[in-house]
Symmetry: C3
Subunit: 436 residues, 3 copies
């Protein structure tokens, strides 16, 4: 046997995100409670998140902030005292938000409280009962089939009491008060893709944005699904008009192709930016029209708000077999997918930051690019792509077309069009329509 020297390679950003997911994975989160708080406190190690606590009973539009749920233990014991289902082995075993219970039941009495996935007999389903007071257990179908006709002791050592709904917020001021909203739900327990992946990507984006010059302001929300966005919108109504664009981030770590679901508006800048980024990126992708189902875009895109907020995922919620089950685990998400999701989000943000309208200062015929060193000296051969981008920017910069309009019309990547515009500005033949 020979000794091999191991070279230590620095961790990639994708690996960093996966490591954060792995740390957060074991915590039992719900829409309220200590698991949620513990999760946000870990994120505070990465970004200076502000934690807000909203009391149970607070009215938020048509809803009320619910009681706070905390759980210590839960199990089903057989008559021999063996834990045949044990919360300590997986926090998915308890129907999330179950009321406390401690009873003895026959198998027949117990069965209506049990949830399994017969088609995937080794997976534990994830089920919730937020807004109807009930209790239940989720188990593998194999566990269920092994249950004997016995008397069982059922225990859910949980509390459901007045307390608070917690959410995290990180606002970054830009040159303009116009805001980009990045929202991810943090309420799911041990599910890696849905939605530790979205949280991890949001954290990395926030870190990046905080280090950059910014035209736009940014607001990152780490919230419980549905009730979190409803609560934020209800308590921050004066902030809403500043939200110009937004992304709901979830399911960003699986091996599927990137997917963008348009906002209710359908043709908002964020919708067009995302479509541009996906169509100019490598590999397959999916663009979906808005559907009033999914995650918090349902609230941001309700008709009373109708915000320009789209949803960015890889395989969307409900479209992968492992969705809402124990198979959505750490192996289901990859550093490569996380890194690719992050990179595409950055490109979308880049367009939101830099899209603008310019005006060609020499609109009568083409300006002579050759004398400015912007054009190949010897003609007759093929036109380099950058020169074509210059011609497109000049031709369409008539105050009505933005850079993204031009990029889409030309079929050229936004980056190239933007650099062409910058070059033309530097040579005095192009100017912003609204000089800063």
């Amino acid at each position: 046997m020979t000794a091999t020297a191991v070279t230590q390679r620095p961790r990639t950003l994708g690996e960093d995100m996966h490591a954060l997911i792995a740390e957060l994975y074991p915590i039992c989160r719900s829409i309220t409670g200590d698991g949620f708080r513990e999760t946000l406190r870990r994120i505070q190690d990465e970004i200076p998140l502000t934690l807000h606590e909203v009391p149970s009973g607070t009215p938020v539009f048509d809803w009320t902030v619910p009681k706070e749920w905390n759980i210590r233990d839960a199990y089903i014991k057989n008559s021999r005292g063996e834990r045949v289902v044990d919360f300590k082995r997986s926090n998915l075993h308890v129907v999330n938000y179950s009321v406390p219970v401690r009873r003895r039941l026959s198998l027949a009495e117990l069965t209506p409280h049990l949830y399994t996935l017969p088609d995937h007999p080794d997976w534990i389903p994830y089920r919730t009962s937020y807004y109807a007071e009930s209790w239940g257990f989720c188990l593998t179908h194999r566990q269920f089939l092994a249950l004997e006709d016995d008397e069982y002791e059922v225990c859910i050592d949980a509390t459901l009491e007045d307390g608070h709904l917690t959410y995290g917020e990180y606002a970054l001021q830009g040159e303009s008060p116009d805001e980009i909203l990045i929202s991810s739900h943090c309420c799911h327990p041990s599910l890696a893709n849905d939605n530790l992946s979205g949280m991890a990507v949001a954290v990395s984006l926030a870190q990046h944005v905080s280090r950059q010059a910014r035209r736009c302001s940014y607001r990152f929300l780490f919230i419980p699904g549905t009730i979190g966005s409803i609560t934020w919108l209800a308590l921050n109504r004066t902030r809403v008009p500043f939200i110009r664009h937004g992304l709901v981030l979830s399911c960003l770590g699986d091996r599927g192709a990137p997917t963008y679901k348009r906002s209710r508006r359908g043709d908002a800048l964020v919708d067009r930016a995302a479509a541009h980024v996906l169509s100019h990126g490598d590999g397959p992708y999916t663009l979906l029209d808005f559907v009033p189902y999914g995650y918090d875009e349902r609230q941001y895109c309700s008709p009373g708000f109708n915000l320009a907020v789209g949803s960015f995922t890889r395989t969307p919620n409900g479209r992968y077999l492992e969705y809402h089950s124990s198979a959505d685990n750490l192996a289901f998400v990859t550093p490569e997918s996380l890194a690719d999701s992050y990179a595409r989000c950055l490109k979308i943000l880049d367009i939101l930051e830099h899209d603008a309208r310019y005006v060609n200062l020499k609109p009568m015929c083409e300006p002579q690019l050759g004398k400015r060193g912007l054009y190949t000296a010897v003609g007759g051969g093929q036109l380099p792509g950058f020169e074509l981008a210059l011609l497109w920017v000049l031709n369409l910069s008539d105050r009505t077309h933005s850079l993204l309009d031009i990029a889409d019309r030309a079929g050229i990547c936004f980056d190239v069009i933007r650099h062409a515009a910058e070059s033309l500005i530097a040579h005095g033949v192009l100017a912003p329509t609204d000089p800063a």
Copy 2:
């Protein structure tokens, strides 16, 4: 041999329609005359049709109500006195509206007055000469080939004299003066699909509508093709503005797929309703853009009226081999096709009756459906279709989208969307934009 007990099954609606067609089939109809009157009188047994008589010579826009045509007998006899072509065997044998004639002619003189279908040597074509005074006979190509070089006696015992154009009308008042026009041409002699089928479906629709509560008013017209709709429009100009939607019904009994031809407007409610019904029904279907050829939609959609009147058929006129020939007979139309055509018309009328705009009374975020019993208690699994319909109605009920808009946008059947809206109204979260 054993005796089998025959159970008497009640006749289906399709069989009722086919039976009516069979009764009307032998009558020799034309655009005027006693055959047309006899047909309408038989329909009066089914629905309380009003018969109108318009005198020959009445000017109707660019046209004049023609003389009335009646025929008793017609034949071609050979020199042996044998009827080689006999109107009594098929009323298609005479060119419809032929002037009276009684002459002896050689085969060479006779031939220019004969019409056959060489590609279908056993079929008699259907030909007309309404607006040019001439005469002729239609015969099978086999009959034609068997004609010897002989002297023939030709007789058309018809009259073409001042009289009346007859049409039938059945108006049903609804809550609103807005009318739905159902128009079918009744001028063809023994052709089952074109258009005894359209007449039979119109009769059944009228019977159904008369028994229902109605928002819309209805007007059923049983008219001669072209001159009938021109006459009605000319004599009822003050009624025209009340026509909000309409269907011309013809060729509804053949085995082909249902076909809707859009109105000249192209995007009228009736056009969108028909497209919705066909796309959400079973099996293949065809949607056609307006063409200024076909039946009475040509007149309703002339530029001076431009009514929202589409055409509903199975295989459209001229697209089936049997069209305008003796092969368009009782065997060519089926109870199943008639019943299917009727059912689709009803669904179209249902949309015209019930499409409306509503307003979400809780437009800020989603209203909490769970507390109203409209949402599955245990979450995490798949969303039932009706709950998705509720979300669509809530999301798009912003005063600008009608139920049909929502159904089309969601890809959900109008019925489901309508029931979702009714449920939301019952729970106080949705209201009509214009309360009645």
Copy 3:
């Protein structure tokens, strides 16, 4: 052996155009200079072209009219005094607009001034250096590989001095001051398709138009590429508003399918006319959206002018292998393609001349065509195509649809629709919306 009498067939128009191309082919043209003048003088034998001379140094928008270039001889001689590259064998051998040079160089010093096409080792490329003062030679890759390590004598006996830019113009007055612009670039030396073909088609069109009654006025420009259209636009700014439609003609003789590139407007009448002509013609064709690269449409469609000028070619510039090389020779262009290009241009011009809006004078229902002899007397059979055209014209002539709108909507050739309209006008049921 028997003697055969040879019948002299008159030359076709395509052959005439090819013969003109063959005459002009040997001349060494550039964007200025005597070759350009000689070319226009030959065209003056065909049409009464006015020659304009614009002095070097004249400012034209962002550009300046360049010095005039004339060349007498050019070669590369090896040390044995042999011309290894000789301008007299092909005028493509000199980089067009090269400055005068007479030097001795090593092969290493010479090589940066040499241009070849390694993928097509027997073809000479065509290269230019209009706006950067430099020099060079173009040669076949085989010639290049045969060059020994020798000392070479390089001579370009050219002058680049103040003089003039020459262009030709032929304006034809029509009933209306509205102009159709036909522009072709004439600055390329021995390249047959690019653009002697465009020039030859333009000459034939001018001859045809001059002999016809004209509603529109016409302006034919024979100009150097880019600087020619810039110069014309700069010096004729008051004429520009009269240009209502235009075609840039080039590459019209190769065996490829006809191609129309839309104007920047995209839906101008000329764009729709060209699309109609191509789609109703025989064989494949290509329609391209505007791209700000190509020939003089770049200038006509710059945002300050945004003229309705499209580009008509067969295979577009840069899309055929022989493009800008010695393989674009007399064999590369065919009389058949030239004649087909000419015929399609005429059809486009025909639509520009005759498209107009009419009004149906009998808009309530259809007018009775039968009594005007415009409708088949015996009905029931198939409708002839011309009668369908009559119905379309009547149905859509509501002051909002032009004949081309109707033709496109009906899917019927413009000619047929136009003749239908003329027939209806003759019968008093249709009238121009704006009587002349």
